[in-house]
């Protein structure tokens, strides 16, 4: 039998009060997990989406050329620029199929294409499947070649077919629609320089806008964290309150413990252990409720594909460790009071 078992016993002995105290922590932790989880998931989704556009410059055919494709020579000139690196080409072209315009886009980032069924290779939008009656295995004739549909994506908003960029470029006669690149120099200066030296192209910089969006999502995360922390703070205050009452109620008991030879540090340790235990159990239950909340929110907002991103390990471990540590801190003042009790007065206390 030691003081830590006694602390555990004290929590069990005062079940209702322990549950009510823990409830404050549970609500705080669940709120943090839900708010931060959902915000983190959405932020991560936004970042993933916007990372596609993380480039310093994008080179496209100038509108004056009347074409939306650059020839191979122009593309090669751009790729040979020493101030540019990390190139990404995209070729988009359209074909009239059964009287409607169908777009073909080359991609190297297949993970950006959200598959509903099938595999990568030739992926059509659901809207294309619906309109043309295509399914996996259907043949699409384009530029005297035949493409076999391998997958269907979830998107329904436009009429796109995704194929490998190298194949799209080949089908388009070695032409590209846009070249994305990074630069070590000032994107604005670099873009003006390239425009001046290569005819028939337009160079834009877009990363600043993307940076702004990402910065805003970061701020949203911080704001949510602050709001959620207030909820946890309320729970922690209830731990201070409970432990103070507990120390006052147990004055005589603490006096007896001192009389039978427990040191001030041992008494302090048992109070801190007790408050930490409240925080830890509140943290565990709070995380469970938080996860249930996230599942509910993700389903209501139709964000189930980001659901696992809403429950990062750092958040779950962080709130459990955080609520435990904060509860231990909350127990500091009551523990100091307990250890400083005058034994003789404590023994007289009824």
């Amino acid at each position: 039998m030691d003081l830590y078992s006694l602390a555990f016993n004290n929590i069990r002995r005062r079940k209702l009060r322990s549950i009510l105290t823990t409830l404050g922590i549970i609500i705080g932790v669940a709120t943090i997990v839900m708010l931060l989880g959902v915000t983190t998931g959405v932020t991560s989704a936004i970042k993933d989406e916007t990372n596609k556009y993380m480039y310093d410059v994008v080179v496209t055919p100038a509108s004056s050329t009347g074409s939306y494709l650059m020839d191979g020579q122009t593309a090669s000139d751009i790729r040979n620029r020493s101030e540019l690196y990390d190139f990404r080409e995209v070729t988009v072209f359209s074909e009239d199929i059964k009287g409607d315009r169908l777009f073909f886009e080359g991609t190297n980032n297949w993970k950006d294409v959200k598959l509903k069924t099938g595999t990568y290779g030739v992926v059509i939008y659901q809207s294309v499947a619906d309109k043309y009656g295509y399914s996996i295995g259907s043949k699409i004739k384009v530029k005297n070649r035949e493409l076999t549909v391998t997958g269907i994506s979830k998107d329904t908003q436009s009429f796109y077919v995704f194929i490998d960029q190298s194949y799209a470029k080949q089908l388009a006669g070695n032409k590209v629609s846009a070249i994305y690149a990074s630069t070590d120099g000032d994107p604005k200066t670099v873009s003006e320089e390239i425009e001046r030296q290569i005819n028939g192209i337009s160079v834009e910089t877009k990363s600043e806008k993307v940076n702004e969006v990402q910065e805003m999502t970061g701020q949203a995360l911080l704001f949510t964290a602050i709001i959620a922390s207030v909820a946890l703070l309320v729970g922690i205050i209830s731990v201070i309150n409970t432990m103070l009452i507990s120390v006052m109620e147990r004055t005589k008991e603490l006096g007896v413990l001192k009389a039978i030879g427990f040191t001030n540090w041992e008494i302090k340790g048992s109070i801190l252990f007790e408050s930490g235990l409240l925080g830890f159990s509140g943290g565990i239950v709070g995380v469970i409720f938080g996860i249930i909340g996230i599942i509910g929110i993700a389903n209501v907002l139709k964000l189930t594909e980001y659901m696992y991103g809403m429950m990062p390990l750092w958040l779950i471990l962080g709130v459990i460790v955080g609520s435990t540590l904060l509860s231990v801190l909350a127990g500091l003042y009551p523990a100091m009071r307990a250890s400083k009790l005058n034994v003789v007065e404590a023994l007289r206390n009824e």
Partner: protein, 223 residues
Amino acid sequence: MNNHVLEFRNVWKTYHMGDDLVNALAGLDLVLDEGSFTAVMGPSGSGKSTFLHVAGILDTPTMGVCRLNGNETVKLSKKEQARLRRNEIGFIFQRFNLMSQLTSLENVMLPMIDNDSQKAKEILDKIGLHGKYNKRPTQLSGGEQQRVAIARALINNPSIILADEPTGELDTRNANSIMQILRDLNMNEGVTIVVVTHNPVAADFADEIIHMSDGKIVNMASK
């Protein structure tokens, strides 16, 4: 030559009560030898309890020297004082002061240094609580609760037991039974015992009876 377990040399304990100074102990001189059984009697306010608190290192004297097994208690750190209380002193209180949430066995084992439950059971058996290891204090009579408190006091083989009105909450039969247990412990195992009591029948179990008044010993009688 007998070993001194407890030694008080010109010990004073002074309290402030408003503007007045009250001497709870007024130059107390006392030596208790190993294996002695002493009862301390006196009217309320005579300094009996203060003597017991200072002897048990629960309180510090204002002046004078207190030694427990040769250790000058005021010179020890708080931690050393706690260790000395745990290892060398067994306390028995008037109101038993058991932990209500713990069983008899757990109460006895609470201050235990080596966590030996068998030893705790043997002590409970010896004082007549065989089979009541798992009873909580509320399931025991007053006499039984005080026996558990005695077992707790004995668990670390202390060199002295300090009992503050151990029969104060008990009827005559239980009071005599508790005092007989203390008597047996003293006789058979040589445990030094100090009992503060108002009860002359309880005091009669001791070998030596000290009467206190105004913080001083006014009479000391040996059998």
